[in-house]
Symmetry: C2
Subunit: 109 residues, 2 copies
């Protein structure tokens, strides 16, 4: 089940990827699945949260131990995405933000 990621005490890093999809579905599910599975095998990966609403806006946040871990992951991911035709096929708009998580608070029932 898709749940809030269980991450260690800050500091650590977050990559916030916010996107709007095109209507091109070809190859999308496959790519999205590969990205998550590749990320989770990378050194320094801490977790991922991903959701897309009915209006087409998607937010995926991945968490990482260090900026170096993000840089390594990005090199792999961009290579793979380029091979499969580029993000621009699937997204009409996206923003990627890299942020340092400074504090967190969790509530669990």
């Amino acid at each position: 089940m898709n749940k809030p990621a269980q991450t260690p005490e800050p500091p650590y890093y977050a990559v916030i990827f916010t996107s709007l999809r095109t209507d091109v579905d070809e190859g999308y599910g496959d790519m999205a699945e590969k990205m998550v599975s590749m990320a989770s095998q990378q050194p320094g990966f801490l977790g991922v949260e991903s959701t897309r609403g009915e209006d087409g806006l998607g937010i995926t946040v991945s968490y990482w131990e260090s900026e170096e871990a993000i840089a390594n992951w990005r090199r792999n991911a961009e290579h793979r995405i380029a091979q499969s035709g580029g993000r621009e096929r699937w997204y009409s708009e996206f923003v990627t933000r890299v942020a340092k998580v400074e504090r967190s608070r969790t509530f669990t029932r």
Copy 2:
């Protein structure tokens, strides 16, 4: 329309709120709407992105000029939420993370 937020050049701050809903709907829509409208009137507010998937996982990211702006917003929001019965009614689990955005990249078709 719900779109990626247009934010200035980093640095700025992000509050990443990831949640799972309970099945209590009473008051939820009203509270969620009020939170966004209150946030957008706060000094230092830069934008917000919010989405919830069919599996119940929701991610809301709000962007702020400074930590002070976040602290001001939180005081108002928590007061209002407490008055309306507390977040714990609507959420079975949530994590709030405060992060400093260090860099960003935008693609627009």
